[in-house]
């Protein structure tokens, strides 16, 4: 009886002192594709409205979209294979094609979903699963980011160091079907006047 009590006491204190339980994994880290092949990727974007990811080819216009907090971003990702799918690092960047100067950058941790076509993609249902590459407000005193060619660079790296980078030249474009939102986008994505910017409405984020 005394021994049972002592064991119970030991178990109680062991449990009491070990701290919170580690949350259960939310993703099974399966491999998408053929482990013997190098990772492959294709840049994809969405307009934030259609729920569709479309492939991006050289010279394509890519949408500049107003995210919840304001400004204008391009929602970009890759469809990828020959890579593990959980907690991958997805980085998206715009560069000036001439100077290679960075214009906008976003990196985040996402899970990929394996499609029936053998490619993995982020779940586009939640735009937080895509690189939200900020391009506006355009803080540059000279360069208009809307309508000017830029390099769109996407890199994905999984937890096992499989990595792939794709770069394509695109034209970031304000595409909102709403005329006022489109005008706001063009205003925010034009160079920053020395006297400061006055656009119809933007967002603050607190």
């Amino acid at each position: 009886m005394r021994r049972t009590f002592a064991i119970a006491l030991f178990v109680f204190f062991t449990n009491a002192c070990k701290g919170p339980d580690k949350p259960p994994p939310t993703c099974d880290d399966t491999f998408i594709g053929d482990p013997s092949l190098a990772p492959e990727a294709m840049v994809v974007v969405t307009d934030g409205l259609s729920g569709m990811l479309v492939d991006v080819n050289a010279g394509d216009a890519v949408p500049l979209v107003r995210p919840p907090q304001g400004g204008q971003v391009t929602y970009a990702a890759v469809r990828v294979r020959n890579i593990n799918r959980c907690a991958v690092s997805l980085a998206g960047r715009f560069r000036d094609p001439t100077s290679m100067v960075e214009l906008g950058f976003d990196r985040r941790t996402v899970d990929l979903v394996a499609g029936a076509d053998g490619w993995g993609r982020p779940d586009v249902t939640h735009l937080s699963n895509l690189a939200n590459i900020p391009l506006c407000p355009d803080n540059d005193p000279k360069r208009d980011n809307q309508g000017t060619p830029a390099l769109l660079e996407l890199q994905v790296t999984d937890q096992h160091a499989h990595t792939v980078t794709q770069t394509v030249q695109v034209v970031p474009t304000c595409t909102s079907p709403d005329a006022a939102m489109r005008a706001l986008c063009v205003c925010e994505c034009s160079h920053l006047p020395a006297t400061g910017r006055m656009c119809a409405a933007a967002d603050g984020g607190l």
């Binding site: 895509l130 407000p137 603050g204 607190l206």
Partner: protein, 325 residues
């Protein structure tokens, strides 16, 4: 002996609860040496989050330059933040000097960030129960004009993530300079896009770069802001190509509820470079943000159920007050 034990118990309880239960009060600057923005005491009921927007005018003849080189910012225990902005375009939130707009629990115009979209940051603190005493470097000041409208947004939480034992209250002292300094201070406010952290997520990371076409600019102070799922907040400077320049971030915070305001920095922003900032989040598997979205925590000002990843940066010489969304 019994009395001693009771006293010891009270002392232990007080120590365990941490912080003072009293008001944090600042004496106003001596006449002619500055001015005070005073937030009078208000109630924050159990379970509530109260965010109030107070409007003030900068004292002095209209249009006259007012230079400030020293701030003292103080707010009661339980404050989530006290941010001061210059009022620009009015969209759903406005007021005259002396007006206050009170909002609660994530709703109301003082919570709607689009209402102060183009309102430049002036100064901020997130250290409840404490005073941030911030002297700008020699030769640097922040410029205001007499009659200029300022808004103080102060947020208190009295729920599960933070407690407000003695009500909301805050003070901001602005100490003026007798003459214009050599250089003006500018501000950068940056917020991340579309963050989403779900129960069971561990070390979910978001990083963004804020591009500032500055040349020869120096960062002198900074602080980061996220909510209780936040594990680590960092800031670094990037070169024009987007590479981090410092081997270690110039700002790191692991204290989501009382993130430090780091002053005394002397960080150069490379020409054409900017600032990178990261937020790492973890959410307990049993936690719940939005029950209509798989209990995930998404962008928003309500501390209990939403998340942020915002950076406040102060630099000189000023070119513009920048925002990065």
């Amino acid at each position: 002996m019994q009395r001693l034990l009771v006293s010891l118990g009270i002392a232990l309880i007080a120590a365990g609860c941490g912080g003072s239960s009293g008001d944090v009060l600042l004496d106003p600057p001596v006449a002619g040496e500055g001015f005070q923005l005073d937030i009078p005491k208000f109630e924050v009921a159990a379970g509530d989050e109260v965010q109030s927007c107070y409007f003030f005018a900068v004292p002095g003849p209209a249009g006259q330059d007012v230079w400030v080189n020293h701030f003292k910012l103080a707010a009661n225990v339980g404050t989530h933040h006290m941010n001061i902005f210059r009022v620009k375009t009015v969209v759903g939130l406005g007021g005259n000097p002396g007006d206050v707009v009170v909002s609660k629990n994530g709703t109301g115009p003082c919570f709607v960030s689009s209402n102060w979209a183009d309102w430049p940051l002036v100064a901020n603190t997130q250290q409840g129960g404490d005073t941030v005493d911030w002297q700008l470097p020699d030769g640097v000041g922040q410029k205001f004009t007499g009659g200029e409208l300022l808004m103080v947004q102060i947020h208190f939480v009295n729920a599960t993530t933070q407690k407000t034992p003695s009500g909301g209250r805050g003070d901001a002292n602005f100490y003026t300079m007798p003459s214009a300094p050599a250089m003006e201070m500018g501000t950068i406010f940056a917020t991340n896009q579309n963050i989403r952290v779900c129960p069971g997520d561990t070390d979910k990371m978001f990083e963004t770069h804020c591009k500032t076409p500055l040349s020869g600019a120096t960062i002198i102070a900074a602080n980061g802001h996220f909510h209780s799922r936040g594990v680590e907040f960092t800031m670094n400077v990037t070169d024009s190509l987007g590479n981090d320049m410092l081997p270690q971030p110039f700002y790191t915070s692991t204290a989501w509820s009382e993130p430090p305001m780091t002053t005394g920095l002397n960080i150069q922003i490379p020409d054409g470079g900017g600032v990178s900032w990261t937020c790492d989040f973890s959410a307990d598997a049993s936690s719940c943000g939005n029950p209509n979205d798989s209990c995930c925590f998404t962008f928003g000002g309500k501390v209990e159920t939403q998340e942020h990843c915002n950076a406040f940066i102060y630099y000189y010489p000023k070119v513009q007050d920048y925002s990065c969304f």
